[in-house]
Amino acid sequence: MRPSTIKYYLKEGLSGLRKNLLMTMASIIAVMACISIMSFSYCVASNLHHILQQMEDSIGISVFIGGTPTSEEIEEMKTQISKIDHVLEVRYISPGDALEELKADWGAEEDIFEGLDETNNPLSHSFQITLDEIESQDSVLQALKGIDGIDNIRHGQTETELIMKANKVFNIAGFLVMLILGVISVMIIMNTIRISVVNRRVEINIMKYVGATDWFIRWPFIIEGVIIGVVGALLPLIIGIPIYAKIISALYNYFPVIKIIQFRLVGDIFIVLFPVALAFGILLGTIGSVTSIRKHLRV
């Protein structure tokens, strides 16, 4: 392809958009809406996932053992627990260790535990279990119930279940809205390109008579669609970056409690979102123009 030909395609594509400004703008707005929803869903889902991961690191399952087991019994239980699927690590905590940890947690007020030693320690023997993924917590709990000698199981089930459910609902809702807006975008782009084709009827007719190839005639219209897609994808991202940063800092400011969880950084989010949104925008634009060309440009 000659550079002059590429220049011609770009020039014709841009002039088509300009002559048809209102429809061009409608198409861009439709793509923008679609990309905005996609970006918003991704921001929320990505943050929920990030938070879940932090919880996986901090929250495990604690298993308490009744009575005073022998060290063989403890070893035996540890092996059994280790064999359960998705169990990453099993750490045995003796009542003495537990007492030390408790004292450390209370810091300056550790004197309330004074008088407690190995002979009268009320704390149980326990295992601290770490999982490879939080979603498998249920199956691990089921398996634990089958092990003899376990007195009590403690875990952060309700919180994780809530976040997991929220994540799922968000993913599905976001995907559905994105799909609907995507279809609408493609339809509006198709209409824009159709008007552009009709505007250039005479030109296309002459091009055919002088022997222009079909692709030569099609390219400017594809370029039109791609430009709509690119602009429609870039605008919401450029607007989105400062908005995301603002929302995150506002959340930290108004709810100091949530400082213990970390939101994803602006850079982390947009380094993924940029190429994906751009590709998706170009895809919408291309599908819109190609289907329109196939329908209205019999070359």
Partner: protein
């Protein structure tokens, strides 16, 4: 150069465009296609341009059987055929120069060649000084000269004219005919469909008269035939 062997075109509604047409046009010929409305003139022109497919029979242009060409080969066939229409079909928002250059641009000719050939062909059709004018600033004759320049700028071996003088007054029409004669003398084969009796009579070229989709008369040198 152009062969039609037993070409029949039946339209989907059952009407016959042309029937069992046999026609041979040699390189360098100047042929008038005449006949009343509905005689098959337009069908013949459209078959040559491959706007229509023959129902049966073969069409050979420049040694290529055009009825066997796939759709992506049609553009390369059309580069052998210059076309001029009654209604000029110029792009109103482009200058005369741009209208002619457009024909070269769409077949991806290099800019260097465009800059060399367009002024030359505009000079040939007598529009050397009109390059910057827009079509609506031109007379009908000048517009048809622009269309003619566009048709021949890529040097096609065959020029097909569909009533090129139909919208012009006799004097202007005569100017266009002289131009076509010049182009023919440079070696281009010309096929011209027309109603213009005076022109056909004056030019004294080969005349093919169509009647109800058949050739009623084909003379090497002559005038318009009334009985058709």
């Amino acid at each position: 150069m152009i062969w039609l062997n037993n070409v029949t075109k039946t339209y989907p509604n059952g009407s016959r465009g042309v029937e069992n047409l046999n026609l041979h046009i040699e390189k360098g010929d100047f042929v008038f296609i005449v006949g009343s409305s509905g005689s098959g003139k337009s069908t013949l022109i459209k078959l040559l341009l491959k706007e229509l497919e023959p129902t049966t029979g073969d069409i050979i242009i420049n040694r290529v059987k055009t009825n066997e060409l796939s759709s992506n080969q049609i553009p390369y066939l059309r580069r052998n055929l210059g076309v001029v229409f009654q209604d000029f079909r110029l792009l109103p928002n482009k200058t005369v120069y741009e209208n002619v250059a457009f024909a070269m641009r769409v077949i991806e000719a290099p800019n260097r060649i465009i800059r060399r050939n367009v002024p030359a062909v505009l000079a040939l059709v007598g529009l050397g000084k009109k390059g910057r004018s827009y079509p609506n600033q031109l007379s009908g004759g000048e517009q048809q000269r622009t269309a003619l320049a566009r048709a021949i700028v890529n040097n096609p071996p065959i020029l097909i004219c569909d009533e090129p003088t139909g919208n012009l007054d006799p004097e202007t029409a005569w100017g266009i005919m002289q131009l076509l004669d010049d182009i023919n003398k440079r070696g281009t084969t010309i096929v011209m469909a027309t109603h213009a009796r005076d022109i056909v009579d004056d030019m004294q070229k080969r005349v093919v008269t169509l009647k109800q989709g058949n050739i009623a008369r084909d003379i090497k040198k002559g005038g318009y035939c009334d009985e058709a």
